[in-house]
């Protein structure tokens, strides 16, 4: 029974990690190529979640909602890039942080105007409401298993895209030296817009998947954004591999901490002390982890070769 519980929580951790990876991959790509710190990445996640949830409620088909919401978020992302962010690439990080912070305020309020301030709830689509047995004798919710599968497939596709295709070659060229790539005839502006759109689509996908699991409300993107920062800092900014490792580590540590820290503490402390210290420590755990990693490796686990 305990082993089953641990396995289930590990899978939950992996599922959270995969969601974090979908976010972190886009953010780290954008940073790697455009040298842009985009706080508004969480807003794209929120937009994706809202679009998907209302499309799902409207059409009744989760698949259709997914097919519409992800490209829609991609378009929103590209529009934001063209309108507001393009001029920020040459600015320092302070400007980027503040301007994208302004975008967050805008998007949170826009969502509140369109959909209202109260949270939206959807349930898991009927076809995925059951359980699957990943390990025989241990049923696991099918929807969460699907998230894990999608995340791993996306990670694989992203790896193939970046390291095996022509577009990926251009992305890597842009990341290692923008000016040089541009001088060699690469349309860097277009490339930036495309990469930003790709990141936005991934954030939208994460938002879509998050809809039935978490509450969809204004500001939902900010919470996950900070966790994604922890992921990126641990993994090393600009590195997709680092993002994957960091995301899985952070997701697992956070989930296991929340599940098992209180029971573990209650074996050493009094029950009341464990009750108050457990959740407090669990919510701080990933930040302590980040501080520890930074103390030994200030550039993260997988420092990207550039920037």
């Amino acid at each position: 029974m305990t082993a089953y519980l641990v396995l289930e929580q590990c899978l939950n951790g992996l599922q959270l990690g995969v969601m974090l990876f979908l976010m972190a991959a886009g953010l780290t790509l954008v940073f790697g190529i455009m040298n842009l710190v985009n706080l508004a990445h969480g807003s794209l996640y929120m937009v994706g979640a809202y679009l998907a949830t209302s499309l799902f409620q409207w059409t009744g088909s989760f698949l259709l909602a997914a097919l519409l919401a992800v490209p829609a978020t991609l378009l929103v992302g590209m529009a934001v890039e063209i309108v507001a962010l393009r001029t920020l690439y040459e600015r320092d990080h302070l400007d980027q942080v503040l301007a994208t912070f302004g975008l967050i305020l805008f998007f949170n309020e826009l969502v509140a105007i369109v959909w209202g301030r109260s949270a939206l709830y959807t349930s898991v689509p009927v076809a995925l409401a059951g359980h699957v047995e990943i390990v025989p004798g241990a049923p696991y919710p099918a929807y969460r298993a699907l998230i894990i599968a999608i995340g791993l497939v996306v990670a694989l596709l992203l790896y193939l895209l970046v390291s095996r295709t022509r577009v990926g070659m251009l992305i890597r060229a842009g990341a290692s030296n923008r000016t040089m790539a541009s001088a060699l005839g690469v349309n860097i502006r277009l490339l930036c817009t495309l990469v930003f759109g790709l990141g936005a689509a991934l954030a939208g996908l994460a938002g879509l998947l998050a809809g039935p699991l978490y509450t969809v409300q204004p500001g939902m993107g900010d919470q996950i954004l900070i966790q994604v920062f922890v992921v990126i800092v641990i993994g090393g900014i600009g590195s997709i591999r680092g993002a994957l490792v960091g995301a899985v580590v952070v997701g697992t540590v956070d989930t296991l901490g929340r599940a098992f820290l209180r029971p573990m503490l209650s074996t050493v402390l009094s029950p009341s002390a464990a009750d108050s210290a457990g959740p407090a420590l669990a919510s701080m755990l990933i930040y302590v982890l980040m501080a520890t990693v930074l103390f030994f490796r200030p550039q993260g686990l997988f420092p990207a070769r550039t920037g």
Binding site: L98, G102, L105, F106, N108, D222, I226, F229, V288, A291
Partner: protein
């Protein structure tokens, strides 16, 4: 990649900054004097027009101005983009709230304690964060502030998510009674003016020069023989302590504290105040706090969705008015910002 000699005569050298900070003349000086006099006159004018609410509003402005000044100290002069500055606001507020809850009412104990604890927290956060730089630094300071936010949420003894009421405002001796709105106002104004004066003095001292030199060129400063990490960490911790004092004031102002004090949107607002007023000017953030909070007050009177205006406004300021409102004034010989 400048050659060693090329930077010597440029505006970014500490010496140029010294001249700029020391002299405040002409239009700028006039504006400052008028502004200060105007702030000092707020309580009588509010009483005259019969709107005591304005004392409350402007006191809030001054408290946030203090927080913004403390951020400018490390952001504008030290080049440390701390995106978690509201953390110390929360720490200072909670020290006052928790001490009051346990029966310690004296402000003479509460406020120094708030500063001391904030100083220690800033030392710890700075010791880890300052090992990194650039984007890492931004993200880490943000993450630490958010960690304190979650800590506040999960401690049920002190209200958890809902926050807690301040038992009573801090007590001082004699005529200093914070329950009197005007007295409280002048206490806050006095602290702000004192902080500005001390801050200016500190920035022109040897210590301040080293911090600013480290911002212009960290490697060169280190090569001259200054341990820049220690100087930066000291500045970071001092700024934290000052912001902790602002937190103690804020707790007295609202008489209610929530983990929301440390929320990262609060950090963003404080940073925006600094940029809006003019980074690296010390008095600019006061102006920034004034404009931003009054703007919020006016906008929220029109629509509950005022942030949809504020967000794009922020973007436009960053894109087109980087030097801030103070930079619009003539004789703009400011620091090296």
């Amino acid at each position: 990649m400048r050659r060693p000699l090329a930077g010597a005569g440029q505006d970014t050298s500490p010496l140029a900054g010294r001249r700029a900070v020391g002299v405040q003349v002409g239009v700028r000086g006039l504006v400052l004097t008028v502004g200060l006099a105007g702030l000092a006159l707020v309580p009588p004018i509010a009483a005259w027009v019969g709107e005591p609410f304005y004392v409350d509003l402007f006191r809030r402005v001054l408290i946030f101005a203090l927080a913004a000044v403390s951020l400018d100290f490390i952001l504008g002069y030290g080049g440390m983009v701390s995106f978690g500055h509201a953390a110390y606001l929360g720490v200072g507020a909670y020290v006052v709230g928790i001490l009051a809850l346990h029966g310690v009412q004296s402000g003479f104990v509460q406020w120094p304690a708030a500063m001391l604890v904030s100083l220690l927290v800033a030392l710890a956060i700075g010791a880890v964060s300052l090992r990194t730089s650039g984007v890492y630094f931004i993200m880490i300071t943000l993450a630490f502030a958010q960690m304190l936010y979650y800590l506040g949420i999960s401690i049920e003894e002190y209200g958890g998510d809902d926050g807690m009421r301040l038992v009573a405002r801090s007590r001082f001796a004699g005529p200093i009674d914070l329950d009197d709105p005007s007295v409280f106002y002048y206490v806050v104004l006095g602290i702000l003016v004192l902080a500005l004066a001390l801050g200016r003095r500190l920035l022109n001292s040897r210590f301040g020069m080293v911090v600013r030199a480290a911002r212009s060129n960290e490697r060169r400063t280190e090569a001259i023989g200054f341990p820049t990490f220690r100087y930066k960490l000291t500045a970071f911790a001092l700024a934290g302590a000052l912001c902790g004092l602002a937190g103690a004031l804020l707790a007295n102002q609202t008489e209610y504290l929530t983990p929301g004090f440390t929320h990262w949107t609060r950090s963003g607002e404080i940073m925006f105040m600094v940029i809006l007023g003019g980074m690296g000017t010390l008095v600019g953030p006061v102006l920034g706090a004034l404009v931003l909070l009054l703007l919020e007050d006016v906008l929220s009177g029109y629509t509950e969705h005022w942030q949809i205006v504020l967000g794009p406004f922020l973007v436009l300021i960053v894109l087109f008015a980087k030097r801030g409102l103070l930079g619009l004034l003539p004789e703009g010989r400011r620091g090296d910002a």
